[in-house]
Amino acid sequence: MSRPEARIPLADLPTPGQIRMIEVGDHRIGLIRVGDEVHALADRCPHRGAPLCSAGRTVHGIELGDEVPVRGAERALLRCPWHKWDFDIASGRCLVHPTLRARRYRVTVEHEDVVVRLEHPR
């Protein structure tokens, strides 16, 4: 039996910075575009279980660059709605905790669709 998947027409993808919620099986997933890449993250913060994608926001963030605080070039971070911890959208890595990662799903482009499967990204 094939695992569930979701197909989203390329034309319906979120614009950069937006989060589009989808469901694959019983998994709630946020689709987020950073540049030309589309990422799929679980709607659950690995810290305390907050609705990370459905209530979170994408942000630029501020990082120290050459000893000067610099705003990130694009909305590449996802900020948890509860405790405001930031996650790198592309990797799921939490920026303020060494071992926490937001769960990510495999995203491929097939014909005119983006396909999200309940598999780890390759």
Binding site: R48, G49, A50, P51, A55, G56, R79, W82, H83
Partner: protein, 362 residues
């Protein structure tokens, strides 16, 4: 069963209180400054937002508004229903600043208006909710009058005092407040709020922190002062029905503070002869703490031993701090505590502390 001891609600604007204010106070609310009366607030901003972003409509928040008002439906949908809350204790948001206004008469009038608003707009519509009265520590007689005016209402669970204060709460200047609470058998909840704001003293003896990050880690500082003041002034000897809950000031630091206070009492007992028992004995019978924000040590196994000195089975009560950014989900909080503490923390201790045994049977 769950008692959530700290659910913040507030008005969208001070003007929401107009129907509950006397005419002179209403005039001040409308005509002060350039756009009506405003409350003093923190000199710092949370860099990512004061509130959980799923607790309000971002587009509907008034421009410049910091503490966005809540609605009863939202509180039902976000807290009471999903977490199966048996009783939720409503705590103020911006209204906590009335206690640090320099004008004690204006503060007392605003407290009366807010308390009537709380009863009319919230507590009379939802039987799962109870409220804490906001009062004026800068005007203790007015505070006592307000406690006696409304303190016997079934919807009122106790009295709210912020951590911010001009004078520590054990000082005899506050005796009218303690006497009124003692007479009515009402507990007092001291909740970190607005330290360093208005007429309140600085956050620490070191002076003002520069960053909100510091302030948030230091929120217990004002409460430590009230804790030692209340114990060393013998409040629980003189007002034996009084109970005090410390909200949102941390747990671990209180353990060491209590041990140090016991040691100091042994050597300095002649200075405080009205304290006939060591402070820790009064704590056992009269003091409670709330959980949020539950400290997050590097490993969860380190938490329980670190707070055991507070006797959490008797003293610790769950709180979520909804809708603030450092909200704690009860499922997560209780899971992090030893199984044998959970029922007491979830509801038993709070039911006893607030006298909710009918609503929250053991």
């Amino acid at each position: 069963m769950l008692v959530d001891c700290d659910i913040h609600v507030g008005y969208h604007s001070l003007r929401d209180l107009l129907p509950y204010l006397d005419s002179a106070t209403a005039e001040l609310v409308l005509e002060s400054g350039t756009n009506g009366l405003g409350m003093p607030s923190y000199p710092w901003y949370h860099p990512a937002g004061w509130l959980r972003t799923d607790t309000y409509d971002r587009d509907a928040a008034a421009e410049g508004a910091q503490l966005v008002g809540q609605t009863l439906d939202r509180v039902r949908d976000s807290v009471l229903d999903p977490f199966d809350v048996t009783v939720g204790i409503l705590t103020p948001d911006e209204a906590a600043a009335f206690a640090v206004l320099p004008n004690p008469l204006l503060a007392a009038a605003l407290c009366r208006g807010y308390n009537d608003w709380l009863l009319t707009q919230w507590l009379e519509h939802e039987p799962r909710l109870r409220g804490l009265l906001v009062v004026t520590p800068q005007h203790p007689e007015a505070a006592a009058d307000e406690i006696r005016r409304l303190g016997e209402r079934e919807e009122i669970a106790g009295v709210f005092l912020p951590g911010a204060a001009r004078i520590p709460y054990g000082n005899p200047v506050h005796d009218p407040i303690w006497r009124a609470c003692d007479d009515l058998g009402l507990p007092v909840a001291i909740h970190t709020h607005f330290e360093g704001v208005g007429i309140a003293g600085p956050v620490t003896g070191a002076g003002m922190p520069d960053f909100y990050t510091e302030y948030h880690a230091l929120t217990g500082a004002g409460m430590f002062g009230h804790f030692t003041s209340i114990l060393c002034h013998g409040i629980f000897e003189r007002f034996p029905r009084t109970r005090v809950m410390f909200m949102e000031g941390g747990l671990v630091p209180f353990v060491g503070l209590l041990w140090r206070l016991d040691t100091a009492w042994r050597g300095c007992r002649t200075e405080v002869p009205h304290c006939v028992r060591p402070p820790s004995e009064y704590v056992r019978d009269h003091v409670a703490w709330t959980t949020q924000p539950l400290e997050e040590p590097p490993e969860d196994r380190m938490l329980a031993p670190a707070i055991e000195g507070l006797e959490p089975q008797r003293t610790l009560c769950f709180s979520s701090d909804y809708p603030h950014w450092d909200f704690d989900d009860p499922r997560q909080t209780l899971k992090r505590l030893p199984a044998e503490w959970r029922d007491a923390v979830a509801h038993g201790n709070a039911a006893r502390f607030f006298g909710l045994e009918t609503a929250v049977p053991a």
